[in-house]
């Protein structure tokens, strides 16, 4: 059985309670935070379990790396306090079930590129930036064999992740890969944050897409023509599991001559795209999600962004269109980088 490695003494000794006091969606003072954390640790009901928007950010806020978000989700499941209506959970859990045959396992020599469940993004992985990487699978019929399952953190279903993740790791490892570049933050976070937190062995090294892109762009530096665009970055929830890699956002922008606009909701203060919140059970969630999107997009626009950069397909699907309606072009990070080296985007 995979168990969360959680050290409650760290929380009891914590002076900041940043996990809750920094939360942008629940306004919690330090005293209340201390009480609620204790309740959560002790498997008692807490309003936090009901009102959490599942944005992952507390994983980043925690100064001790103690995985407060994983604990919250675990408690939501244990106490049956689920953030989404039952049919969405049932449907969501089944989304991850492979149904069109077994994966085509072939040995991959050298580093591999893992698209996870987003085989439709294969068109983004063309050109010089991705030379030397072998795409692990871009077959839309087989993509669920590579689905990292972390999405179920939004569903209050740690158990589903823990039931399925070992098999997914086995499938990737069957390619005999040593190094895997994960296209999506969610996959990277699964293998570098979630897996160790729950005791899953991961027999390959994971590389974050942005770190890979940055290093590859450095190799192609002579081909870079500064873009001179003002850009905003829509930080996805799962990037909170790899906050040490966030530095590569600015490093990439600097390298390709894109100006990362100064805005209120950036970095640690980044706002959720609202995609998950839209469907939550809590009264007024849809309107809350829309207001959040407006606040986020207005902030980008106020800061003068011409382009909104995405890495997460779900964020793109949720606010790509509203961003475009406000006159900012929604672009995936990989495409922005391809643009900088003179390639056509997808």
């Amino acid at each position: 059985m995979f168990q969360l490695k959680f050290d409650e003494t760290k929380c009891f000794a914590c002076e900041t309670n940043d996990c809750l006091t920094k939360c942008q969606y629940l306004k919690i003072d330090p005293d209340t935070a201390k009480i609620e954390i204790k309740k959560i640790i002790n498997k008692k009901d807490s309003f936090v379990l009901h009102e959490c928007v599942t944005c992952y950010a507390c994983e980043e806020y925690c100064p001790t790396g103690n995985h407060p978000f994983y604990l919250i989700v675990q408690r939501q499941e244990e106490l049956n306090i689920l953030p989404l209506p039952d049919p969405l959970i049932k449907r969501g859990i089944r989304i991850g079930i492979p149904f069109r045959g077994e994966p085509d396992i072939q040995e991959i020599k050298g580093p591999a590129l893992n698209l996870g469940v987003f085989s439709s993004l294969a068109t983004l992985t063309r050109g010089k930036l991705f030379e030397g990487l072998t795409l692990m699978s871009a077959d839309s019929r087989k993509m669920f064999h590579y689905f990292c399952q972390l999405m179920y953190l939004h569903f209050g279903r740690i158990s589903v992740i823990n039931e399925r993740l070992e098999k997914i790791i086995e499938t990737i490892a069957a390619h005999k890969v040593k190094e895997v570049v994960h296209f999506h933050d969610e996959c990277y976070g699964t293998y570098t944050s979630y897996a160790p937190a729950f005791g899953f062995a991961v027999p390959f090294k994971s590389i974050h897409l942005f770190e890979y892109l940055y290093n590859r762009l450095k190799e192609l530096k002579s081909e870079i023509k500064p873009l001179n665009f003002k850009v905003a970055y829509q930080r996805p929830c799962s990037s909170r599991l790899s906050s040490d890699k966030y530095q590569f956002v600015d490093k990439i922008f600097d390298l390709i001559g894109a100006e990362h606009v100064k805005r209120e909701y950036v970095g640690e203060n980044a706002l959720c795209c609202g995609g998950t919140i839209l469907g939550q059970k809590k009264k007024g969630s849809r309107q809350f999600s829309l207001d959040l999107q407006k606040k986020n997009i207005d902030d980008m626009q106020r800061a003068g962004a011409q382009i909104c950069v995405f890495n997460c397909p779900a964020c793109m699907q949720t606010i790509g269109k509203p961003v475009a309606k406000k006159g900012m072009m929604p672009v995936f990070m990989s495409d922005l980088c391809r643009l900088a080296i003179g390639e056509k985007t997808s």
């Binding site: 209506p85 969405l88 449907r91 089944r94 839209l278 699907q317």
Partner: protein, 453 residues
């Protein structure tokens, strides 16, 4: 030389008449599970006068005539069951008149839905017609004749409810007009003249529709689809009742299927919403999602299934062949909305018996006055056993429709017989009288709606 063929060549020209086996073969097939039925001739007239001449010829020679449009009914409605002349109307594809302010268009019956859609999109982007879920090659005349329904227009009823007038070539060759056009006025209404609704739903066995005046509707700039999901099929009738009360959605379709797995046993309601501005869209969404659906969300029995998406058309015909065998056919029915739960449960049982993943769908008509409920059965064209299973499942479903209090939509001969067996005897006799009066030689699509006793 064949005298009928020669006569057809004389009427429509050599390029548009044929008795060659390779062309007859094309017209012998239906996209569904029906066995092939070969015509003896194919003719493609360009005008109502040519249709008239062909009909007079057919009466003289006692040769059956089977009119067809796109040939996409899937139910074999345009197959020449007793041979004869397959009358392909697709050359009659002109847009004759469009009255913008009165929102109607007069077209020849063989025009495809795709052509009319493209024309409106280019010249009158603020107007739309009710497009069926079929591929764009389906014709206006064919869809009207089978009482089809369209996307984005459920509040207005069946597509056949949107007819303002028709021109029909009778089985004895007379060209008749119906509606305001019959008294020399514009083609703006079918009413309030005496009711002569004798040509819709008869599978072309009472006459050949050659022109149609069709109502058009406001076409909004933004068209998006929202999705609501429930697990309990018993909630669907109530949900549709609530949603139609608000009246903000142009389409409401409840559906589920065995494949992909996330759909299995989970019922989706797609809500097509249109507006000219974001404010209009949000106003409508607010009434639907924050109003009527809020209690289901909060009690956890229903949820918003996805971020709003652009509408892809046609919606229905894309979803049925999950088995990827290349073929599917469905039984459509017109059902009370309250029958949704039983339609789903019993349909899934039939599918399971025949080893076909179930795909069911109920599209609301009017203000939930009824729904078109369909059961789709996929098959592999290269595997006769799967075709047999699909055919048997279709027949079982025809019987199920009647058992559940529904009416079979665009029934093939099997379904027609089932309904006529149950039909009020006076109604049946009237159908027989009408048919005999209009078509004394029995040349029009024989085998369809034939009252035998």
């Amino acid at each position: 030389m064949d005298a009928v063929y020669q006569a057809l060549v004389k009427i429509v020209g050599e390029d548009y008449a044929s008795n060659r086996p390779e062309e007859l073969f094309t017209y012998s097939k239906d996209l569904g599970t029906s066995e092939p039925k070969f015509p003896d001739y194919v003719a493609a007239p360009k005008t109502a006068e040519e249709v008239q001449k062909i009909i007079l010829l057919a009466n003289k020679k006692k040769v059956p005539v089977v009119p067809l449009g796109g040939g996409m009914s899937l139910a074999g409605l345009a197959l020449p069951l007793q041979g004869g002349i397959a009358l392909d109307l697709k050359r009659m594809d002109q847009i004759i008149e469009l009255n913008e302010k009165a929102r109607y268009v007069v077209v020849e019956a063989g025009i495809s839905n795709g052509k009319l859609t493209a024309y409106l999109h280019k010249h009158y982007p603020h107007l739309m017609h009710s497009e069926p879920g079929a591929p764009p090659a389906a014709t206006i005349g064919g869809n009207i004749a089978i009482h089809g329904q369209g996307d984005m227009a459920h509040p207005y009823g069946f597509n056949s409810d949107m007819v303002n007038g028709m021109e029909v070539v009778l089985p004895t060759g007379e060209i008749c007009k119906f509606g305001s056009c019959s008294i020399g006025s514009g083609w703006y209404t079918l009413h309030p003249l005496p009711d002569i609704g004798l040509f819709l739903g008869w599978n072309g066995s009472t006459g050949i529709i050659t022109k149609i005046s069709l109502r058009l509707f406001p076409c909004k700039k933004i068209r998006e689809m929202d999705l609501f999901v429930v697990e309990d099929e018993g909630l669907i009738p109530d949900l549709l009742y609530e949603l139609t009360h608000v009246g903000m959605a142009e389409d409401l379709i409840a559906f589920t299927s065995a494949i992909p797995p996330f759909m299995d046993g989970v019922h989706h309601i797609s809500m097509n919403i249109t507006g000219d501005t974001e404010e209009e869209m949000e106003f409508k969404r607010h009434l639907l999602l924050d109003g009527k659906l809020a209690r289901y969300i909060q009690d956890g029995t229903g949820g918003i299934g996805a971020v709003s998406q652009d509408i892809q058309r046609p919606q229905i015909s894309k979803s049925a062949d999950w088995k990827k065998g290349g073929g599917f056919e469905y039984v459509g029915s017109i059902m009370p909305v309250t029958a949704y739960p039983e339609c789903y449960r019993r349909g899934a049982e039939i599918s399971t018996r025949h080893n076909i993943p179930y795909t069911v769908l109920g599209r609301v008509i009017g203000s939930a006055h009824a729904m078109m409920f369909s059961w789709s059965y996929a098959f592999n064209r290269a595997d006769p056993e799967t075709v047999r299973h699909a055919r048997e499942a279709l027949h079982e479903t025809d019987s199920l429709v009647l058992e559940l209090g529904g009416t079979i939509w665009k029934p093939a001969v099997f379904g027609q017989k089932l309904m006529m067996d149950r039909m009020d005897s006076n109604t049946l006799q009237m159908m027989k009288k009408v048919k005999n009066l209009l078509d004394p030689n029995g040349i029009m699509n024989p085998g369809n709606w034939e009252v035998n006793e």
